[in-house]
Symmetry: C2
Subunit: 234 residues, 2 copies
């Protein structure tokens, strides 16, 4: 194989990876800021998250353009194509995570006018756990660390469990004091957005595994118990 | 250009498109059945939806394998690459729509034990509207009909508005009778899943436009009013 072409492809790939790294870092920041906006009732920070999400959309578009150009120019072989396609999937997934952080920021703006609720702490815990999972899976992606990816993938069940217990907590809270229903619904949606970020995190873990090991991660991930409302009298 | 190669590429593309058509048809069916399972409190139909969603996952995997093989074998030019990449995005989007239909089916299983609520009708209307949008955008995709795609894209605002009014309806309902909080939360999540299917529908409309016209659809889509809880006393 001609070394010139190989190195040109590697340079191209580095340019794509640089954009994806920027996307990953931005996702972490947006999620972290959105959670802070919820916790501190900070609508200004929330507005910033909403604005900065546009950069993610632009980066996803740029990754797609660049990837197509590389494929057309370099005519890469199957293995390199797989890497490029995984870049496309990665950037699409990160763009979605950004959208979910933006949704949380939107809820934060609504919550800014509300009196604090004890639910904040539970949602905050779920948020920090989700953020930690995201950070770790991005590290696994950067360092092609399948052991870390599998560990993140297995731990998603814990995020699901926190979500399920939070769901029951919110519903109980709303039943005890119907004036909190509006507020509680917002917390439910924030929790749901976090759960979806957790799902995307496991997708990234699966991608890391697939790219490195060449085979899918399998289907035996433990799933959290489905939401049950037993005992809340609904 | 060698006609043999062109026609081989076209044959390959047809094979990919056939899988995507199967995915599109399956999505419509799963959503339609999930809505029926909610409306008729039919847990057996819901279980079927959950099982049949696996086929969508498998098809998405096959589309990716096939697309990579075509790219490696045929070394297509930029325009053909763009079409193949749009196939990858389309199959990923359809797989997600299937997941959302599966989530609705899961809620249907929970609802099967519940007494009927007047909310069913509103959710049913939103569901039928979402299904109709999905059917039309899949038609637009198959026939490369940008006018239809733009029309679907513009009408997503109506699904958002139905969602917002449903949200207020559910919250009011829960406040009037706290025993309905568990049930109401399930309806909120079904509506949220439908809204997300609506979002994916607009993504498909944007893809159709981009592939046919060669430029993005723009950013001026009217958005539904953000959820407001004014007047429900929260």
């Amino acid at each position: 194989m001609c070394p010139h072409i190989v190195s040109a492809f590697d340079d191209d790939l580095l340019a794509v990876q640089a954009k994806i790294s920027e996307m990953g870092g931005l996702c972490e920041e947006l999620l972290s800021n959105a959670l802070e906006a919820v916790e501190n009732r900070d609508p200004k920070l929330a507005e910033e998250v909403i604005l900065r999400d546009k950069r993610l959309d632009k980066l996803e578009f740029e990754v797609e353009e660049l990837t197509t150009r590389i494929m057309a120019l370099r005519q890469p072989m199957a293995q390199d194509l797989r890497v490029l396609i995984s870049c496309l999937k990665m950037s699409a997934t990160l763009e979605r995570i950004g959208d979910l952080a933006k949704n949380i920021a939107r809820r934060a703006i609504y919550l800014a006018d509300q009196r604090p609720a004890k639910l904040s702490a539970s949602v905050g815990r779920m948020g920090q756990r989700t953020l930690q999972q995201l950070t770790e899976v991005l590290d696994a992606y950067t360092s092609r660390d399948t052991a870390l990816a599998v560990s993140v993938w297995r731990r998603d069940v814990e995020v699901d469990e926190i979500y399920n217990s939070l769901f029951r907590e919110v519903v109980t809270y709303m039943m005890e004091d119907p004036r909190t229903i509006g507020l509680g619904s917002q917390f439910l949606f924030i929790a749901k957005n976090l759960e979806r970020i957790g799902d995307h995190t496991t997708h990234i873990a699966e991608m890391v595994y697939y790219v490195v090991e060449g085979e899918p991660l399998g289907d035996d991930r433990p799933k959290g118990e489905p939401v049950s409302l037993d005992g809340v009298g609904s």
